[in-house]
Amino acid sequence: MYNETVMEHFTNPRNVGEIEDADGIGEVGSPQCGDIMKIFLKVEDNIIKDIKFKTFGCASAIASSSIMTDMVKGKTIEEALALTNKDVVDALGGLPKPKVHCSVLAEEAIRSAIEDYKKKMK
C-alpha cells in the first residue's frame, strides 16, 4: 500500500513536537475528515530556522508532515511558499491516489504557518 519512504517517515517522523515561542503557527484540516496538521515555525532573517509538527491522521498524513518539515527547514520564506503538494508526493516517492489529499494538507499547513508569521511581523 505504502512505499518504503512513506513507511520510514511514518515510523520515524522528523521534527515532531511543538515550539513554545513559535514565530508562526498553522493548523489545517478537521477532525471530521480525520486529518489535522499543526505546524510551528521559528524564523530568523527570513529563514526557517526550526520547524515542528503534530499530526492527527493516517500514516500518509504523518509521513507528509514529516517530509514537508524536512524540505522547508533552512529554506527562505519564499522558497517554503513555493512548495507544492506535488513536491511532497515526489519526495515521498508517490502516494496512493486516495491519499494525495494528505500532501495537499502539508502544503496548506506550511502556508498557513507562514501567513501567521507574516501577520505577527506586522
Partner: protein
C-alpha cells in the same frame, strides 16, 4: 527468529479448518463430476451435495429442502431482499431494515429505492440495538419485508431477532436476517426464531470463500436472482461449486457441534482483551453493547489517534486487525455503523476492531496487550489533539 504473527481479524475471514479442507480436497480432481450428470461421477457429486445440505439444515434447525447454496453471503442477502421485493410487489413496496446493516443489505435497498421501493432504515441506540417499538411503528400496510441483521460485523451487537420476527409474523410480513457474523458465535435455530429467510457465509466459520447459504422457509414467495438451469431446484442456477458446498456443510457442522465450548473460549479471550485494554490505556471507549455482543468481538475507539495509523503500526509487529476509519474504508466518512451509534467523527476515526477466532490463544491476547499501549502512546505523542487533554478534561 521469525516475527510473531497474531491474526485477530476473524470477522473479515477465517482460515479453512483442516477437517473442512480434508473433506473438500477430493472434489477438485477426484470426484469432480457435475451433480446434474446421470453417470457415476455425477451421482457421487450429487451425493456429497445432499450430505452437505443435510448438515447445514441440521445446523440451522431447518429442513433440507429449505437450504439453498449461493456464491456468497452477499448473494444470499441480495437474493432474499430483491427476491421478496420483486415477487411481492403486488402486495406492497415498503421494506424495513436498519442503519447498521452490512453493505450487502444497504446497497441492495438503495438499489430497490431507485426502482420504486420505499425503505425505512431503523435507528439504533448508543449500543447498536434497534427499538422493537420503533420497528412496530414503522410497519405500514405496504410493508412486504423486514430485514434485520442478527449480529453486527463491526461492533458485534446482537439484536433481539426472535422478538422482531414475531412482530413481523403477527403482521404477516416476511422476515429476513443476515446472520453471517452470528453463525458460529450464537445459537441459531430458524424454527425457534421464526424467521422466513436467513443468510450465512462459509468463510466466516472456517469454511471456504465463495460459498453462502440462504435459508428459505417452505412457502416463502421470492423470485430468482439468477436464471438458468435446474440447479438448486431451479431457484439458484449455475453448476454447483461442489468442493465449496462440501466445505460449507462440514464448516456448519463443526460450528454448531462445538458452539457452546467456542462461545466460552471466545468470551474468555474477549473479556481478557477488553479488561486489559481498559486497564492499560486511558481515553478509550468500548463500542457496541457490553453484554449483548458477539463472543469474539472487541471494538474500541482510541481518542486522539486515527485508525489506519494504528492498524499499520500493529501490522508492523505482526498483529492483523481492522478499523472503521475513513482511511480504511476508501471514503471520506468513517463507518456508517459507528456514526449510527452516535460517535463523533474523530472518535469513529480512531476505532479498532479485534475479532477473535478458534486460532487465537491466551498468548495472542497477552501479546496484543503488550504491543498495543506503546503504539497508542506513540501515535498520541504525534497528535495535536492529545495535548489539549493532558492533565485535564478531555476536549477534542
Amino acid at each position: 527468529m521469525t516475527k510473531r504473527r497474531v491474526y485477530v481479524d476473524n470477522s473479515a475471514t477465517t482460515p479453512v479448518h483442516p477437517q473442512v479442507l480434508e473433506e473438500m480436497l477430493p472434489f477438485f480432481n477426484e470426484n469432480f463430476g457435475n451433480p446434474s450428470s446421470v453417470h457415476s461421477f455425477g451421482r457421487q457429486a450429487k451425493k456429497a451435495m445432499d450430505k452437505a445440505r443435510e448438515r447445514v439444515a441440521v445446523a440451522l434447525g431447518a429442513k433440507t429442502e429449505e437450504i439453498f447454496f449461493t456464491g456468497s453471503g452477499t448473494e444470499a442477502d441480495n437474493w432474499a431482499v430483491k427476491g421478496v421485493a420483486l415477487a411481492n410487489k403486488d402486495k406492497g413496496n415498503h421494506i424495513i431494515t436498519t442503519k447498521i446493516e452490512h453493505h450487502a443489505l444497504l446497497h441492495t435497498c438503495e438499489y430497490l429505492e431507485k426502482h420504486g421501493f420505499e425503505v425505512t432504515y431503523l435507528d439504533v441506540d448508543e449500543y447498536g440495538l434497534i427499538s422493537l417499538k420503533q420497528l412496530e411503528e414503522a410497519i405500514k400496510d405496504s410493508t412486504i419485508l423486514i430485514s434485520i441483521m442478527f449480529a453486527n460485523n463491526e461492533i458485534g451487537t446482537i439484536q433481539p431477532i426472535g422478538e422482531a420476527a414475531r412482530i413481523a409474523k403477527e403482521k404477516e410480513i416476511y422476515f429476513h436476517t443476515d446472520s453471517v457474523q452470528a453463525m458460529g458465535n450464537v445459537k441459531i435455530d430458524v424454527k425457534e426464531l421464526g424467521v422466513d429467510l436467513l443468510s450465512i457465509s462459509g468463510h466466516k466459520i472456517m469454511g471456504p470463500k465463495g460459498i453462502g447459504v440462504l435459508y428459505i422457509r417452505k412457502g416463502v414467495r421470492l423470485d430468482n436472482l439468477i436464471h438458468g438451469g435446474a440447479q438448486e431446484r431451479r431457484r439458484r442456477p449455475g453448476t454447483e461449486n461442489v468442493a465449496a458446498v462440501v466445505g460449507m456443510g462440514k464448516a456448519a457442522q463443526l460450528a454448531t457441534e462445538n458452539l457452546e465450548q467456542h462461545i466460552r473460549d471466545m468470551t474468555s479471550l474477549r473479556d481478557k482483551l477488553i479488561n486489559g485494554i481498559y486497564e492499560r490505556i486511558p481515553h478509550v471507549k468500548l463500542n457496541g453493547h457490553p453484554t449483548e455482543r458477539l463472543a469474539n468481538n472487541v471494538n474500541f475507539s482510541f481518542e486522539f489517534i486515527e485508525g489506519e495509523a494504528l492498524l499499520l503500526s500493529l501490522d508492523m509487529v505482526g498483529i492483523a486487525a481492522s478499523s472503521g476509519s475513513a482511511c480504511t474504508s476508501g471514503s471520506l466518512d468513517p463507518s456508517h455503523v459507528l456514526m449510527a451509534i452516535g460517535l463523533s467523527h474523530e472518535i469513529a476515526h480512531g476505532s479498532l476492531r479485534l475479532s477473535l477466532g478458534e486460532i487465537n490463544t491466551d498468548e495472542d491476547v497477552e501479546y496484543i496487550l503488550e504491543q498495543l499501549p506503546p503504539i497508542v502512546e506513540r501515535l498520541r505523542s504525534l497528535s495535536p489533539l492529545f495535548k489539549q487533554c493532558e492533565g485535564g478534561k478531555v476536549s477534542v
